[in-house]
């Protein structure tokens, strides 16, 4: 997973007086399933639209497969598939007719592929039913079918499970995981259903108010979202040494304020406090912190909003 397929540097989009995307930079390597997480209006869809060429960046660069010129990006997009916002379809045409039209647009000569993708997404028996009579879930499936027509190398999906029932969500998740595993397809996916993303993503980007908050691998995020033991003492460096040497603890780290976060031996609070005390360390605060992805996300967004408001207040005062 070493080759970078998408590289974005200082990407900015300003609409009138509002910055929808503000100086965002990230790289996506081949084979990643990258989750793009943020609240409504955070800039997720705008980033995807800029990758797709629908929205022209105000500043910054986009490189896909190493190319950044208009011609190179157009060629790169032919190797990608996008599903942005509500999938489009001609309402007075059937699913098959819509996919036939897309085959013509994409230059896909083999219309047998239409049968394959309709079967994959469970729309093989829609027959002459017009798309105008489809449910939202069926339209989402048709959008995914369209995205699969050309056997893409990269898929950019904006909330692909929106409107699907639980069974449909599982099917889409398993489909995407299979495509990534068997065909090495790189996937950039946004969703509000964090628990769903946590079951498939290898990496995560958190975005709020148009700014990138952080980029974490699944491993890093798992660590940050696990329950941990918070310890603050009168001598945190000594406390860390005692934990390591006396209790053979290895899964811990120290925060910027020196406090310790411990991810093992969460049931041994008495032993830990006794050992610290016996070695001259006085515990000032100790508790088990229960975390999950949603809480992690809410905390991060909340902190970012607080920082954003603080900066705005400073500007207003000035």
């Amino acid at each position: 997973m070493d080759k970078t397929v998408i590289s974005v540097q200082n990407l900015t989009k300003q609409f009138m007086k509002q910055k929808a995307v503000d100086n965002v930079s990230f790289s996506i390597r081949e084979g990643m399933i990258c989750g793009l997480i943020g609240p409504n209006g955070a800039g997720k869809t705008t980033i995807m639209k800029m990758l797709g060429g629908l929205v022209i960046p105000t500043a910054g660069t986009i490189e896909i497969y190493g190319g950044s010129g208009e011609k190179e990006l157009a060629h790169a997009r032919s190797r990608m598939s996008f599903m942005i916002e509500t999938p489009y379809a001609k309402e007075k045409m059937t699913a098959r007719e819509n996919l036939t039209k897309q085959c013509l647009q994409k230059g896909v000569p083999d219309t047998k592929r239409i049968d394959e993708v309709l079967k994959i997404v469970g729309l093989g028996d829609t027959g002459k039913k017009k798309v105008g009579n489809f449910s939202l879930g069926m339209r989402q499936r048709l959008g995914i079918a369209g995205a699969l027509l050309t056997k893409p190398e990269i898929m950019v999906l904006d909330e692909p499970v929106n409107g699907l029932d639980p069974e449909g969500i599982i099917e889409v998740r398993e489909l995407l995981l299979r495509l990534n595993r068997e065909n090495h397809i790189t996937i950039l996916i946004s969703s509000h259903i964090l628990s769903e993303l946590s079951q498939m993503c290898t990496d995560y980007m958190f975005i709020n108010n148009g700014k990138m908050i952080c980029f974490r691998s699944a491993e890093e995020l798992r660590k940050e979202c696990s329950d941990y033991f918070y310890i603050h003492t009168d001598n945190d460096p000594l406390a860390a040494a005692v934990l390591s040497e006396k209790l053979s603890v290895s899964q811990f780290d120290t925060d910027t304020d020196g406090s310790i976060r411990l991810w093992e031996r969460l049931d041994d609070i008495r032993l830990i406090s006794k050992t610290l005390y016996e070695n001259g360390v006085i515990p000032l605060s100790m508790y088990v912190h229960e975390a999950n992805l949603e809480q992690y996300y809410m905390n991060m967004v909340g902190d970012h909003d607080a920082e954003h408001n603080k900066i705005s207040d400073l500007h207003n005062e000035a």
Binding site: K49, G53, R77, M80, M93, L104
Partner: protein
């Protein structure tokens, strides 16, 4: 890649009932005016291809105008409404292919339907009845060629407006306004068009209105029959000016529309 855009547009047109309705209603209108025009030919004059062409071309031009505006605006502007155009961009088509592919289909579609009307209304009667003496064939061919160039100019304008406004309705409205307002203004102000072979005449619908109609004629008696001979002729320099202006305006409109589309966000 542009070829893929063109193929998909043709596929859509075959399945979009709008085009069927637009064609049917326009032809119904043409049928009504054709019947009205020929009610005066129940006796007397010999009916020939040249008589039909001379009398009908003015009315046919209205039909050409309707085809041009209705088809080019729909092809250029409708796909903004359901994101067909969005997906062509994200499929990897360059914006130039998306724009000019549609322009080609829009213009060809309008011209093709207009050509069918000419074949049915003029060519087939000519084959059956003969051309006659009312207008030289070369004069009519020149006029049809100029009408074609003017229609292309009009369609380029409609396509530009449809892309700028991202709406087929706005494009059609602009086309109708461009076609009708100059005629209404000159009619209300009682301005003689001979006085107006100027730049404004060349870029407006007044030019197409003049080349599609005959004002002056005389009567003659040939081979035992009364015939009407139309004496209006398009001057060579007028034809040259019209041609050059039509080509220049077409290029300007299409390039201006593309310049706006190329740098605009598509939502």
């Amino acid at each position: 890649m542009m070829l893929n855009i063109i193929k998909s547009q043709i596929y859509i047109m075959k399945r979009d009932i709008y085009y069927l309705w637009a064609t049917a209603l326009t032809l119904m209108y043409f049928s009504v005016i054709a019947i009205e025009t020929f009610q005066g030919y129940l006796s007397g004059e010999v009916l020939t291809g040249s008589i039909i062409a001379a009398f009908m071309t003015g009315d046919m031009t209205i039909v050409f105008f309707l085809f041009a505006v209705l088809f080019s605006s729909r092809i250029a502007g409708w796909d903004f409404t359901d994101k067909t155009l969005n997906y062509e961009v994200i499929y990897g088509h360059k914006r130039s292919s998306v724009y000019f592919g549609r322009a080609i289909v829009g213009i060809c579609s309008g011209l093709l339907r207009s050509a069918v009307v000419v074949v049915v209304a003029v060519v087939i009667p000519t084959i059956i009845l003969g051309w006659g003496w009312s207008v030289p064939a070369g004069e009519m061919i020149l006029r049809y060629a100029l009408i074609t160039l003017e229609l292309v100019r009009l369609m380029a304008f409609v396509i530009m407006m449809s892309f700028v406004a991202r709406s087929n309705v706005a494009g059609a409205f602009a086309g109708f306004a461009a076609g009708l307002i100059p005629l209404m203004v000159t009619g209300l102000a009682d301005i003689e068009t001979e006085e107006m072979h100027t730049f404004s005449w060349l870029v407006s619908s007044l030019s197409i209105s003049e080349v599609s109609s005959f004002e002056n004629y005389t009567s003659d008696y040939v081979l035992g029959s009364d015939i009407i001979v139309f004496t209006d002729r398009i001057e060579p320099h007028t034809a040259m000016l019209m041609s050059v202006m039509a080509v220049v305006c077409t290029a300007v409109y299409l390039l201006a529309g593309y310049a706006v589309f190329r740098k605009s966000d598509i939502h």
